[in-house]
Symmetry: C2
């Protein structure tokens, strides 16, 4: 998704197209941005894993993805050189976190996690509205969670790790396990209790490691009505009163929340990234 604008109420142009190989996709992005006034900066929220270290020779590249053709694609350097503008580059989930922080469900959260459950499972972390990267960037889809093979014999869908969190609870995992995509499964299908269980185990790791002050849980799978509430119930059970805060007890519905920007969090966050880059460039 490409857009030009300065916030949710002021999108001047936008265009959406499916991701093909890198050459074709980057060419379409270049055409989009050449189709209007040159922007002061461009923010990119890319699928990952990506190199977000500005000191690295492979800054702005996609790194180890299994997506055909994209491994090592120099996304940000190519767009910078073709378009001649400053580029702010981060993961798609970090951009979505930033969008929700600026204009959505993450407002006023000193530390924030935006976790997405869709084709993959990822998360963006913000500290005072700045994406947190550390060594690489968060990749919570690849943690391992308990997998009771008696209850759930599905071996997992991750091509690299099998039954990591993403392998057990992403959209493709749901579809492979049950033979139908999530949106075709009834609200009382046992898929949802199992899905909530795995997602709560993943969220628990985020709570116990990073201890964010709010978690926004988005992505296509989370559009299932009632799923967020099921995850919250299970998370509260898993915490078991050990962490002394009402936000992980009675107040959990103020802690684990839905996105306010829906599937526009990413593109709006990319605009916020671009604004920060433009401000830095003066």
């Amino acid at each position: 998704m490409c857009a030009v604008g300065s916030g949710p109420e002021s999108i001047e142009r936008e265009e959406q197209f499916a991701t093909a190989g890198p050459t074709e996709t980057l060419e379409r992005i270049v055409e989009f941005f050449r189709g209007g006034e040159r922007p002061s900066a461009i923010g990119i929220g890319s699928f990952g894993p990506v190199d977000v270290d500005p000191r690295s020779p492979t800054w702005g590249h996609v790194t180890t993805t299994p997506k055909p053709g994209w491994k090592g694609a120099a996304v940000a350097p190519i767009l910078r050189d073709r378009l001649g503008v400053s580029i702010a580059f981060d993961q798609d989930v970090a951009a979505a976190a930033l969008g929700e922080y600026r204009w959505g469900a993450g407002r006023n959260a000193p530390s924030l996690c935006y976790m997405t459950v869709g084709t993959g499972i990822g998360a963006g972390l913000l500290i005072d509205g700045q994406p947190w990267h550390g060594l690489i960037h968060p990749e919570p889809g690849h943690i391992r969670v308990p997998h009771d093979r008696a209850r759930d014999p599905f071996p997992g869908a991750c091509p690299m790790h099998g039954d990591c969190l993403e392998g057990l609870a992403s959209g493709p995992a749901l579809e492979q396990r049950w033979g139908a995509p999530g949106h075709e499964l009834a609200g009382d299908h046992p898929a949802w209790e199992l899905e909530a269980h795995y997602l709560a185990l993943g969220v628990l790791s985020i709570v116990c490691v990073f201890s964010p002050e709010r978690i926004v849980l988005g992505g296509g799978v989370m559009e299932q009505p009632g799923l967020l509430e099921r995850v919250a119930v299970r998370l509260r059970e898993l915490v078991g009163g050990y962490l002394a805060t009402p936000l992980l007890d009675d107040g959990i519905n103020d802690y684990l929340v839905s996105p306010a920007l829906g599937d526009r969090a990413g593109v709006l966050g990319a605009i916020a990234l671009a604004q920060a880059a433009s401000d830095r460039a003066g």
Copy 2:
């Protein structure tokens, strides 16, 4: 452990005694600090969970511990009032992280995790040498990791969660599972391969969520020769090349390291906490 000084080479006085109930223990601490010149500030690295939020009415209290008598103990406020000095208060593991960052194996790590494996499993996270707390503070001992009951029928030792990471891999878990404490188990005992497996699963969650630039793995259990290396081998297998950095591949022995200060990391970190509090107070 109580000490007065300004760094590893300049400890003026120190005293160690077993933790009893809060009244008796805090009284001994008061006596220790009254036994010399009044320090400019005191840093406390306390067992947890603790309330480290300076805006909270229960700042400086131990919160939900199962330790008899300590639940709700007002450790920092009592010592501040009895001794009349500024108190910097944090978890024991955050203090240990700070000690290793200042004087040990965490030097020059922009982000650092100090994880301890002993009576419990905990971790302190630092960003640019400052303890990171977020909502509460990290509590990675209570994440859930895969537990293959066919391979390991031990139900787990955590009184709250059973087979959380701490319940499976703390010192007491080792002892209860095998009928002898870790230091009595031979180096080729199967205990160590299982222990390394669980610890690597826990470290993986830290890597995939917080993505620290270095991890120091300490605590009594980690004194077992060869255990750190086994954890590193297993961690590298679990990452499976997915995270594009040599530090999680060939370079893992520069990433996952032993403490340099041994069991003195905590008390030295508390001194560093006190120095920061003293600097802030001017």
